[in-house]
Amino acid sequence: MEPFRRLSALACPLPLASVDTDQLIPARFMKTPRAEGYGRFLLYDLRYGSDGRPSGALPLDEPARAGAQILVARRNFGAGSSREAAVYALVDYGIRCVIAPSFGDIFAANAANNGLLPAVVSEEDAERLLFALEAGLEELVVDLEAERIEGAGEPIAIMIDPVMRTKLLNGWDDLDMTLSRADEIAAFAEADATRRPWARPDA
């Protein structure tokens, strides 16, 4: 996974609260194999009318925001289902960082597993960023090492769990790390079978 250290990129406002996973990617698109790319499904029903034509409802589709890699939204971003496809849609579209006052827990875990930074800021700072972007600001700098966002006046603090930060900074994949502990896991399972003889499915 590509490490996330410092990103200087075009940012786009998404001035909505509770942008849930059903909006990030409607369920009907999830039959698609990942190899085909999920970027075109991002926020589909908000961006396209029932006739499949762009509705122009979101700043994401304004020419000036083309190529944005940073999204700024309101609270409770990514609430809802565990579908990692919501993260695939963002990542395949080109988004590397979402800034919001809060994220759904499962979404945030999925994001970190795919190198996407869920950057938590205060509600006031999110409003300040939205205001600046809507007033014409284009670029932001997200510095994960320094845990701050630059480019909109005073630097803005990012709140992030230190474990998630380390994982993103290094581009670590949990699975590779855990596979090296196979013996430890086997020993635990064996001792546990004695401690909890009832825990295995009985059939």
Binding site: D20, M30, K31, R74
Partner: protein
């Protein structure tokens, strides 16, 4: 008595959650997270990304004996037994059968008499037990916490991790307890309790917390009610919700196909009862809700926190001080086609849905049938039981006839109109009274408008053709 164990050397008071957590820690890293052993892993059609990742890395499934497959998200609810007409849906259901067969995983597939929604099948089959860690690539895995299991939803990368290692890295969440004290009014149930706390704390109110539900009103709930309450934990932002095992839990589990038997069951029951939070255990946040003050609740907007007693009216965004919240209310009302200050009981509905992992168990069907018996629905609707076994039991009790005679459609089991993946959708602009868990925009289909409520309240909406208080319709019937 707190037990002094290696993971709890000083015997400090612990919560239910902490006791289960401590029993599953394989190792803890210096920087905080613990590697947890996973007792049960449930997979469904949506798990195809994770199986693809295993293939890519050339890894086997570590413990197929602890992994179970259930076909639910995409299964058709009509024309079962024949071939699936939709090519994409047939591929999803077929892929699950192939992946589970390749890795030697037991599957409750499309034609299995035990097939159903994964969170209904787990408890029904005794795969769900107190004290277990359980995961599934579905956010409503919190449902299984009703038994005192530590159960939570995970994304595809983590599903692949569990398939390959039977473990998962997790940071210990903070502890929250929600106590419901007192007695619920007749016609009020677990769904109303859940929507009431989510309306109070917000859809992200329990973010980062393990919830324990306690209090006399929780202890009085049946297993079905407890499953509904824990199911909705995620809608309040909590990844998991748990209830301490008691006589109700043990009574439900005895004799279930995959549950322990004989002496092992007796030993298990003893261990399970010891899981309850110690009397002086500490919680990071605690709330008490008076059960007798809860009225039947319905949602008016596009987030489960947009919930009010049926006696209320839609909010006025101009009177909400917080700009973000006011913007959300304005937008939600526009999507729902509602204006501020509208009495909830004046909102006409176009159809109803009874089903989903939230409210499709036998008790839910009985509650809806109690209101529908001998009456006619003014709007069309679908009733999809939570499992093929629930369907059979309901038919034995004659509930199917009540639904059909009222004018509703009685179909096979699956996730169905809760998420619309199998083609059971609400048309754009239509308003649906639904026993499901999410009123998100487009959840039940593009442009669909969802109002969440209990099975009794959906039945009342069907009869009145508008959102309605179920209580008067229950008079003389319960």
């Amino acid at each position: 008595m707190p037990d002094p164990s290696p993971s709890n050397p000083h015997g400090a008071p612990r919560t239910l959650f902490e006791k289960v957590w401590d029993q599953h820690v394989v190792t803890t890293r210096d920087d905080g997270p613990s590697l947890l052993y996973i007792d049960r892993h449930l997979v469904h059609e949506g798990s195809h990304h994770a199986f693809a990742k295993l293939r890519e890395k050339g890894l086997p499934v570590s413990r197929p004996d602890l992994t179970f497959g259930v076909a639910d998200h995409y299964v058709p609810t009509r024309g079962r037994g024949g071939a699936i007409a939709d090519e994409g849906i047939a591929r999803m259901v077929g892929q699950l059968a192939d992946n589970t067969a390749t890795h030697g995983i037991r599957l409750f597939g499309l034609d299995d008499p035990r097939q159903g929604i994964v969170h209904v099948v787990g408890p029904e089959q005794g795969l769900t037990l107190p004290g277990l860690t359980m995961v599934c690539g579905d956010s409503h895995t919190s449902t299984h916490g009703a038994f005192g299991a530590f159960a939570f939803g995970i994304g595809a990368s983590d599903v692949a991790h569990v398939l390959a290692t039977q473990t998962l890295w997790q940071k210990k969440p903070r502890r929250m307890r929600i106590c419901f004290e007192g007695k619920l009014m007749p016609g009020v149930g677990a769904k109303d309790m859940a929507l009431a706390w989510i309306a109070r704390l917000g859809a992200d109110g329990a973010r980062g917390h393990a919830i324990e539900y306690a209090g006399s009103a929780v202890r009085a709930l049946s297993m079905e009610g407890r499953l509904t309450l824990c199911n909705l934990s995620i809608e309040g932002g909590g990844r998991l919700g748990m209830i301490a095992p008691d006589a109700t839990t043990i009574g439900y589990l005895e004799g279930r196909p995959f549950a322990p038997k004989g002496e092992t069951f007796a030993r298990a029951a003893e261990d399970w009862l010891a899981l309850a939070s110690d009397a002086d255990a500490a919680f990071d946040r605690e709330f008490v809700i008076a059960a007798n003050e809860i009225a039947p609740v319905v949602t008016w907007g596009t987030s489960p926190e947009d919930a009010l007693p049926i006696t209320g009216e839609t909010p006025d965004p101009d009177r909400i001080a917080d700009p973000g919240r006011a913007a959300h209310a304005r937008e939600a009302l526009a999507y729902m086609g509602l204006e501020p200050g509208r009495k909830l009981t004046e909102i006409a509905v176009d159809r109803v849905f009874i089903g989903s992992c939230t409210n499709s168990r036998i008790e839910d069907l009985r509650a809806a049938a109690a209101i529908l018996a001998g009456r006619k629905a003014r709007v069309p609707g679908l009733v999809s039981p939570g499992s093929s076994l629930v369907k059979r039991q309901a038919e034995e009790e004659g509930l199917d006839r009540i639904f059909v005679e009222a004018g509703l459609e009685w179909v096979a089991s699956g996730c169905s109109m809760c998420v619309g993946m199998n083609g059971d959708i609400v048309a754009s602009g239509e308003r649906c009274a639904s026993t499901t868990n999410r009123n998100f925009k487009g959840r039940q289909g593009p442009g669909a408008r969802t109002h969440l409520m209990s099975p009794a309240m959906v039945a009342a909406a069907a009869i009145e053709g508008r959102l309605a208080d179920a209580r008067p319709l229950l008079e003389g019937r319960i």
